[in-house]
């Protein structure tokens, strides 16, 4: 148990506090571990539950936005991307829709967990980049957004 012990308990606590401060909805469970440093948070994933908002990853393997005003909504986990709450239903969003921060725009299913995709930025959807049912990896671009941040 000695290989990955570099981070001390203080750090874990500190991270827990920071993480909690950034989470809009109250988790249903919080567990701090120290064996190889874990920090578990759980939510009721009833489809409406929030998921933790992470600050955008410092960089992904995808190309940077090609224009100053284009942003991307990305996959919050590896999994299968769904545009609608269930087969045959109306997609959460379509091209030209205007989305606001926190609005659900899709689902990524990972090991039967339905992880909602929520807009991390507001704007108008100019392109849907992944099809319904398509496999995605973490950070894959799902929607291209044009800035409506000022509204």
């Amino acid at each position: 148990m000695t290989a990955h012990d570099g981070e001390a308990l203080e750090q874990v606590r500190h991270h827990a506090q920071r993480l909690l401060a950034n989470i809009p909805s109250q988790p249903s469970a919080l567990r701090v571990r120290d064996g190889d440093v874990a920090l578990d948070l759980e939510w009721q994933t009833d489809g409406n539950g929030a998921r933790p908002i992470e600050s955008p990853a410092p960089g992904t393997s995808d190309p940077p936005p090609d224009s100053g005003t284009t942003a991307y909504l990305t996959a919050p986990t590896v999994g299968v991307f769904y545009r609608a709450p269930e087969p045959g239903a109306t997609p959460f969003v379509a091209e030209n829709d205007v989305v606001s921060v926190g609005q659900q725009v899709g689902i990524v299913e990972v090991m039967k967990l339905m992880v909602p995709v929520e807009a991390e930025a507001a704007g108008r959807i100019v392109k849907v980049l992944k099809d319904d049912g398509e496999q995605v990896e973490y950070g894959d671009q799902l929607f291209a957004l044009e800035g409506a941040d000022a509204e």
Partner: protein, 466 residues
Amino acid sequence: MRGETALRKVLIANRGEIAMRVARACRELGIATVAVYSTEDRDSAVVSYADEAVHIGPAPAKRSYLNIPAIAEAALRTGVDAVHPGYGFLSEDPDFAEVCRDNGIGYIGPAPEVIARLGDKTAARQLMAEVGLPMLPGSVEPLQSVHEARNLADEIGYPVIIKAAAGGGGRGMCIVGESADFADAYTRTRSQAQLLFGDPRVFVERYLTSARHVEVQVLADGMGRAIHLGERDCSVQRRQQKLLEESPAPLLPPELTDRMGAAAVRGAVAAGYLGAGTFEFLLGPDHEFYFMEVNCRIQVEHPVTEMVTSVDLVQEQLRIAAGQPMTLRQEDIVRRGAAIECRINAEDPDRDFAPAPGVLEEFWPPAGPFVRIDTHAFPGYRIPTSYDSLLAKLLVWAPTRPEALRRMDRALAEFRVSGPGVRTTIGFLREVISDPRFAAAEHDTSIVERLIQQRQVKEDSNVAAT
């Protein structure tokens, strides 16, 4: 994973040098590989080395290398036969092993029940005590009250150590020097255990003041066959972090290490162990040894054993996981010479071993006869800040320990690592191997603290002199 006769594709649920180690073993066995990586590791060596790679999450380990659903999803999507957990991260998490099993993914390691049982200090102690492994005087069952606990401690004699049943890696433990201090320490350790592990159970045992950390490598095929591959001495530690490991453990009579090996094999069979595992023992100055815990995974220091036995432990893991009966017998294990491993960490020994990462402008490991390097670093590599600071493992072999120490010193001196902000443990490791007490194998687990104090004394007197 039982019943198969070969693995075709393996997912490596880890990063760093061990991910490269597993990928190399797979390639040598003709097994395709899938790497998983966090955003911070997207330019890592294993991502380009593996046949496929899946981006499983952002830098924080919780959302990538500890993210069971993401890794399981990657494994199912890529159609691997099995997952290799490496060390650290999910390597001893029974939940992960169980998720793999439930989804028909092979797990390269023991069954989840075995991991769970051996991961619980109390359960492991009970099992090992039953098959006759020597225990430090103390409680086998968790203690029920402070009264019971202090009576036991008084009976054992001080110093004693109070340990969390769910603990490990040096956390959740407290050394008590005399009876008067016991009650406070007991209450404090229980609260800490509850906070750290969600489990307040503790037990008490004799504390050895001048002990060595000696562990035994085992391989078991889950069909009742288990062998040991000798011991490793890991006494050079700083706050439970190993810095240097060696085999054989110096100055131990073969009769003793044979007995330790036999004890480990007995324990492995009793636990229904499968794969590569390690039995950790504390060894007193009187050469009495005591069972500590079982590590249900390949260890950082496994190459030390590979160099003295010529057995490729990771290949053996893969063969066993493929359900192949183990062809190695105990009598095939011939140990030759002495091997030493030094962990080259990106840490600053002058600043309390604080991580000192950065971009490696220069990274040129030593080479030549009887030298081995395991690393994921390369010139231009940016050391990530989210994970441990292990940069490379440097190993040497020689017919005798003194020759191995001289070879290690020449190899450490050859190692060139530099970059803005980058500091390493290379210089400190040279101090360790040139320490007269270490060279004479008279050291114990206090060696690193002693050397750090010597450095500080030297520094202070240098400051005073100027």
